[in-house]
């Protein structure tokens, strides 16, 4: 494969890198938060966690693929 194929692959990977890096940093921050937790959550933290989780049910990233169209 030549340069156009490599360029096409790089362009295909660009959004993955663009969105992946902030997500990777967010994941590192979650590890950091977990490692620095010393005590049990307060009621407010419990409620905030549940709110955040329920909010994610509307996140497109959490929605399954649409069913494949029936074969002709």
């Amino acid at each position: 494969m030549g340069a156009p194929a490599i360029l096409a692959l790089a362009l295909q990977l660009l959004p993955v890198i663009q969105h992946g890096v902030p997500q990777f940093i967010a994941w590192l921050q979650s590890l950091r938060a977990a490692a620095q937790q010393a005590g049990e959550w307060t009621a407010e933290q419990d409620a905030a966690f549940m709110l955040a989780i329920w909010a994610k049910t509307q996140d497109p990233a959490y929605q399954p693929d649409p069913p494949a169209p029936p074969a002709p």
């Binding site: 959004p15 663009q18 990777f24 937790q37 419990d46 549940m50 990233a61």
Partner: protein, 260 residues
């Protein structure tokens, strides 16, 4: 693929946040240094060069200091943040990008000749060890405060890590589902497994969230009544959560390994 679409994609880089820009710049600087092959400077100098690059770039991109923070403290802070981003960029190369190089080098011989990749080592190994030490150095584990239940605190830590891990994996797949469906079908299927609607609290939620909600609910019940039965229920839910987190980490590792 038109020229306009290429420029449209490249223009999007301008909207990246400073952290993402510095990270990407560190990776580019590392490759420039590697490809330059300075005879008077070995490639072993790349990590400190990349870390210093991140620190200086963050100093330049950090912007003006807020009114409530002195300039010296702000610049020092930006320098430290940049160093950490530079270190993360180097780790990303050692753990992920070097494997992508090996993979691409197997497909495109010119890339192989350009980068001259080393033969792949055993999975994990020294980079993984360094990553672990680096993470510990930057996070620092704290002791559990007196009066707090270690069981509850560790479950809550898993909830935090689980939330971040599922977010990372699912958003990575979401960036281009078609790409991963074709090139990493196992990874995509695992993401679909995490997305499968599962009954929880009289409704349906994606399995990953259902696991978190279920564990959180059982933890709440256990905190209200610390009986053996509730402890067993919470422990079982915790095992399910940890299993899903471990699988997510395994898939993250697998999709970055070269296929020969």
């Amino acid at each position: 693929m038109s020229t306009d679409s290429v420029f449209a994609e490249l223009t999007k880089i301008q909207s990246w946040p400073a952290v993402g820009l510095v990270f990407a710049f560190c990776v580019v600087a590392g490759y420039c240094w590697k490809l330059a092959r300075f005879k008077w400077f070995s490639n072993e100098a790349i990590p400190p060069i990349v870390i210093l690059t991140g620190a200086l770039a963050m100093l330049l991109l950090g912007g003006d200091h807020p009114e409530n923070i002195s300039g010296l403290v702000w610049r020092t802070r930006q320098f430290i943040v940049g160093s950490i981003i530079g270190f993360s960029a180097w780790l990303s190369h050692a753990l992920i990008l070097s494997r992508v190089e090996d993979y691409l080098g197997g497909i495109f011989p010119p890339i192989n000749r350009l980068l001259n990749p080393k033969p792949p080592g055993p999975p994990g190994g020294i980079p993984a060890l360094l990553f672990g030490f680096g993470l510990l150095a930057f996070t620092g584990c704290v002791a559990i405060a007196p009066g707090s239940s270690p069981f509850v605190v560790n479950v809550e830590r898993s909830l935090t890590v689980g939330q971040g891990t599922f977010d990372f994996v699912l958003h990575l797949d979401q960036t281009d589902r078609g790409f991963f469906r074709t090139n990493a079908p196992g990874f995509h299927q695992f993401c679909e497994w995490l997305r499968t609607p599962t009954p929880v609290a009289t409704t349906n939620a994606p399995r990953s969230l259902a696991i978190l909600i279920n564990t959180q609910e059982l933890k709440r019940i256990y905190k209200a009544d610390r009986s053996a039965g509730n402890s067993n229920d919470l422990y079982a839910a915790w095992l399910v959560l940890d299993g899903a987190i471990l699988q997510s980490h395994s898939w993250s590792n697998i999709i970055t390994r070269p296929i020969h």
